[in-house]
């Protein structure tokens, strides 16, 4: 769904003063990229931010710890949801007035010890030094250097992992390549050469989301946005409750100018000055990462090790004609 704030981006563009072109220090505001797509985000139901791996913290382990309520060796966020008393997974329905993926408070609060960011979607707490000892509970993406995970068959008891169904190490690709900021915004690849006509070779995804225009673009007006979710990032998201939303974001130029930032508004994962405005959201009633065990193989292991390619590729088409 294209939301109303997309219209605001267009009206911002149409009413920008042409006189800015005569002011050297301000003319960069007129660059097209300031008004085009700049980020993708992943979201889930608001309750999920305090369930799944968000619900376990053990200072003895710097690891993602989660209890599976299933006997199978996969992790189904929906099945887990129904097994937890009074927790029904229900992502917020899309509304044209939405300004973020979930409108209600998405802050992970672990008793009175600590709480995380509330950005309406899955944040990337590992990048913030203030969360360095608790990021494994806040989620939702793995550090590039890796983090252990433990899926338990019974409730966790502090200081003891108990009965481990399966475990391993997850290393985040988004953090390895520095293409996602702490608020969970996966940036678009910078342009080089032909504008918008980025190639889809695997290695080029390491710089972010690509705009991939088909040869029929001039007649269809379809813009394909393509990006990858690495197997390890997918598994991490799964342990934190799955993926039920995608968000597509443009820059919020007015907010950045108000805060004193000047163009070009460069992306920096560690200290991102960029402010974003929602352009479109896509909501799914079922976890996009839902996988079943089959033929005796663990779905979770298949996700990590058995995929033909070590990533899931997504394509989102926006139609203009």
């Amino acid at each position: 769904m294209i939301v109303d704030t997309a219209g605001q981006v267009i009206v911002d563009m149409l009413t920008l003063s042409p006189s800015l072109s005569k002011i050297p220090s301000a003319s960069a505001i007129l660059d097209t990229s300031n008004f085009s797509f700049q980020a993708i985000s992943y979201g889930k139901d608001v309750s999920g931010f305090n369930k799944h791996a968000h619900a376990v913290y053990d200072s003895n382990y710097s690891a993602i710890i989660v209890r599976s309520y299933e006997s199978v060796s996969s992790y189904h966020s929906s099945a887990i949801g129904s097994a937890i008393l009074r927790y029904n997974i229900l992502p917020e329905y899309p509304d044209p007035l939405n300004t973020r993926l979930e409108q209600n408070n998405c802050r992970t609060v672990f008793s009175s010890l600590f709480s995380g960011l509330d950005v309406g979607h899955c944040a990337n707490h590992v990048l913030l030094s203030s969360y360095s000892s608790v990021y494994q509970t806040l989620g939702c993406f793995a550090p590039s250097g890796g983090i252990n995970y433990y899926v338990l068959s019974a409730d966790h008891v502090s200081g003891s992992l108990g009965n481990i169904l399966y475990s391993g190490t997850l290393s985040g690709a988004y953090n390895k390549y520095g293409i996602m900021d702490s608020s969970g915004f996966l940036t678009f690849a910078p342009l080089n050469g032909n504008q918008g006509r980025a190639k889809t070779a695997t290695l080029e995804f390491t710089s972010g989301v690509l705009i991939n225009l088909s040869p029929t673009f001039s007649s269809t007006g379809n813009i394909d946005l393509v990006w990858q979710l690495s197997a390890h990032d997918a598994a991490t998201l799964l342990l934190y409750g799955g993926v039920y939303h995608f968000g597509l974001w443009c820059l919020d130029i007015k907010q950045m100018l108000k805060e004193g930032h000047k163009p070009p508004f460069a992306f920096n994962p560690l200290n991102n000055i960029r402010k974003y405005r929602l352009f479109a959201k896509k909501t799914f009633s079922r976890d996009l990462l839902y996988l079943n065990d089959a033929f005796g193989a663990s779905a979770f292991k298949v996700l990590l090790e058995g995929l033909a390619a070590p990533y899931i590729a997504y394509q989102w088409t926006i139609r203009f004609l």
Binding site: Q8, M13, L14, L16, L30, S33, G221, I223
Partner: protein, 199 residues
Amino acid sequence: MNIFDYLNINGHVTVHKLYDDGHEELVYDDHNTIVSGMGVGLACLFGLSGSTTILDYQIDRFQIGVSGGSALEVSSTNSLSGALSSLEEYVGTDGELFVLSAHQFKGSFVGTPTWYAAIPAHNITRIDDNSVRYTLVVDKESCNNLRNDNTYVNEIGLFMRNPLGLNPIPAPILVAYKYFSSIRKSSDFALVFRWTINF
């Protein structure tokens, strides 16, 4: 569904005669037609496949014509049926419109140079978060010198400056069109079009 369906992009035009004594007479009031050129322009912007400056995506000019029709009020329309074709028709000897010549992108090709009237930046107004109003003023002395005495203005179109980023020959593209009841323009009054587009 495309972006127009989701955002319900639409527009509204009112046409007024403005007399010397300040009296304003509303002579037309209706919705407009957003044509496919708007989609082309926005696709170029968000696909980063057109111009690199935002100024080329702005609606900064309009044309007036004399042979419009309701059949043209469809999304596939890419030009006016009978746009004024000379400087003389637009401004005669005393008209105050700022008129400029440029090519025009017409669906799949760039047409020959034609005349446009510029929309001054101060006549482009944001009226709320999702709406922009273009106030097009055809002064008393403009558009009076038409082809013959039986010629009436009855169509108008808004143009995006050069979304495809064509260089060195920029090509504006029609983004909104309106056919209205015929008006014999004279030096007795100015015509004011208030055109609001909601995104």
